[in-house]
């Protein structure tokens, strides 16, 4: 038997503290009855939340972000799903090259994409706004979605698709009755991740949105006025809670949809 190694435990505690203590300051100060973020805490208050709920500019920014996030996550997941199917199931011409081309936005600095898009968009005489932001987010999210979906597509047995064909299904039916249900956990993960990426993306939105602010731009704008800071903290606290809930729900959904995670695993593969 090994002796319990306390060093690793201490390391883990420091690690998690480093990660989460700064984040935890947000909810704490969002209930603090003072404008400045300094200890000691004054009194307990809901007024920042009240201010947050009644800010119409915040509502508009939030709705903008949700709209962009929904459209961007659905489109980038859909594009990535088709690409993942092609890369894992068919002989694609210039396989490495096209794969690399799709993943490229990963490594190109965001600001370069932003500048390129603003030049292109205004050059074509089009108006800046949420539409170019959404397109930029689709471009930016697709590589993440592709990586998630490709690993799942590679992971499952290709015989299952052949079995469906053998039992009389055509390519379309096989995709919807076998492939899609089996990659569904990855599709959900891809939707959630791309939504979150789009939701907190700042640079592309900053360049391309013109007067239609998204939530990160709104928050950034409020930072300039000390009096407005606390209700941004309240907003931050709400976002932390909602994001955690989404992650927990998606994890729970994945377990439900996947019988192999059940405990009564008899033969097991």
């Amino acid at each position: 038997m090994y002796k319990k190694n306390n060093t690793l435990l201490i390391y883990s505690i420091i690690y998690f503290a480093f990660l989460y203590i700064p984040v935890m300051l947000l909810p704490i100060f969002s209930f603090n009855d003072a404008i400045h973020m300094v200890f000691p805490l004054k009194g307990f208050t809901f007024k920042w939340y009240d201010q947050m709920i009644h800010s119409s500019r915040l509502h508009k920014a939030l709705m903008n972000s949700i709209k962009v996030g929904l459209v961007a996550s659905i489109f980038s997941t859909f594009i990535a799903l088709l690409a993942a199917k092609a890369f894992t199931r068919y002989k694609v011409k210039f396989h490495q090259l096209s794969y690399g081309a799709i993943l490229l936005p990963f490594v190109i600095p965001e600001i370069i994409i932003a500048v390129a898009l603003i030049v292109l968009w205004t050059g074509m005489g089009l108006q800046l706004g949420l539409i170019p932001v959404t397109i930029a987010h689709i471009l930016f999210c697709t590589p993440f979605c592709l990586l998630i979906l490709i690993s799942r597509m590679e992971g499952f047995d290709k015989n299952l698709e052949e079995a469906a064909m053998d039992l009389g299904e055509n390519a379309w039916g096989t995709f919807w009755r076998v492939t899609f249900p089996l990659v569904l956990p990855a599709v959900i993960a891809s939707l959630l991740l791309s939504f979150v990426i789009s939701f907190d993306e700042f640079i592309l939105a900053f360049f391309l949105s013109s007067s239609d602010q998204t939530l990160p731009m709104y928050m950034w704008g409020q930072m300039r006025f000390p009096k407005k800071l606390p209700h941004v903290l309240a907003l931050g606290a709400v976002i932390i809670v909602v994001t955690s809930l989404i992650v927990i729900i998606s994890y729970w959904l994945r377990n439900i949809g996947n019988p192999s995670s059940k405990k009564n695993n008899i033969g097991g593969i």
Binding site: N159, A164, M165, N170, L182, G257, P259, N264
Partner: protein, 361 residues
């Protein structure tokens, strides 16, 4: 048996880039036959099966099933169903929905669908398993579900790709018998791929032995064992003693052969042999008998020395070195060795009718 050309494979070849997986294969399979494709891994047997299923299209040649050309018909429109090597049970739906999967495409009432699913489950003796998922089934149960899922479609041909390979020995032997009985009762043509010669021999009506993309011999199991037509088949099916030989003269079916260390004998040939063929002669271990002293009842008698014996329950294998023959001869006997043991001198007797002339290629 009826139609002798129920499945007709004509001059089929399949190339993958530079590799020829199936090389100009022609074979007919009769209706209701249990037909096996037997060969070592990489011999092209699975590719040929996948060509029958419609997962691969032949580079050359054509395939017809029940008098209609299916060469260019995709898998989903063929009257064939397949049992996959790893069973390929859909993990996201339960057993009932797995079996129904292929019926959903057929326009039948829900009562008929339920009836057929129940019949299929009954046939594979898994009633009551409707709501299980793949990961709640054992290997043997999955195998039966895969069978039920394929047979519920009432295919003209059932294709089986090494379906027993993943099972342990005892279960495999049980399933061999069950599968054979099932095939007899449903009367569907089975094409069965295996690398296990014993499995092919015990189950099949006929076996096609494949090597390097070619079919070398198509025969009923007993004939395959008793009359191998070439060296690969003789060596692949069971044990055999092979002796270097040369043809001296041919007179119709009578062939005079000079057998290394044994002498010149006139034998009956069972395949077409010409003067230029390179041949060996083969003797099965069960056709050699052993005794401690000379007898004069048999055609050939040679003296040898026992080098080794191994005991297999009902049979004993004896290895005897004979002067002039490089490898010790192997023989099997069900009787006791009566005082003979390793290093004893002994006499081997062989009857001429048990010696086969086998072509080297």
């Amino acid at each position: 048996m009826g139609d002798k050309e129920f499945i007709k494979i004509s001059n089929v070849s399949k190339n993958f880039d530079e590799v020829t997986a199936v090389d100009n294969v022609s074979v007919n399979i009769a209706k209701g036959e249990f037909f096996s494709l037997l060969g070592p891994s990489g011999c092209g047997k699975t590719t040929l099966l996948r060509i029958l299923a419609g997962f691969e299209y032949p580079s050359k040649g054509f395939v017809s099933i029940d008098n209609s050309d299916v060469t260019d018909i995709p898998a989903n429109l063929r009257p064939t169903n397949m049992v996959f090597q790893n069973y390929a049970i859909f993990p996201h739906i339960n057993v009932k929905r797995n079996i129904e999967f292929g019926l959903r495409k057929e326009k039948i009432s829900s009562e008929e669908m339920n009836q057929r699913v129940n019949d299929a489950l009954k046939m594979v003796k898994l009633e009551g398993y409707e709501n299980r998922f793949s990961n709640q089934l054992s290997g043997g149960q999955r195998q039966r579900i895969a069978l039920a899922r394929a047979l519920v479609k009432r295919p003209k041909v059932l294709l089986l790709d090494e379906p027993l390979g993943a099972l342990d020995k005892k279960l495999r032997e049980e399933m061999q018998i069950e599968l054979r009985n099932l095939q007899r009762s449903v009367g569907i043509t089975f094409v069965f791929v295996t690398h296990d010669q014993e499995e092919a021999m015990t189950m099949s009506d006929r076996v096609a032995v494949m090597n390097q993309g070619k079919i070398l011999q198509v025969s009923p199991p007993k004939e395959l064992y008793d009359f191998p037509e070439n060296l690969f088949v003789g060596d692949f099916i069971g044990d055999i003693n092979l002796l270097e030989s040369q043809i001296s003269s041919i007179n119709g079916k009578k062939v005079k052969v000079l057998i290394n260390a044994l002498g010149e004998y006139e034998l009956d040939s069972h395949t077409v042999i010409t003067q230029n063929d390179n041949v060996v002669t083969g003797i099965r271990p069960k056709s050699i008998s052993i005794s401690s002293n000379e007898t004069n009842q048999s055609d050939i008698q040679v003296k040898g020395k026992i080098t080794n014996t191994s005991f297999y329950g009902n049979l004993t294998y004896v290895y005897v070195s004979v002067e002039g023959i490089e490898k010790p001869l192997m023989l099997s006997t069900a009787e006791s060795l009566q005082g003979l043991s390793v290093n004893s001198d002994c006499y081997l007797t062989i009857s001429l009718k048990d010696i086969r002339i086998i072509k080297k290629n």
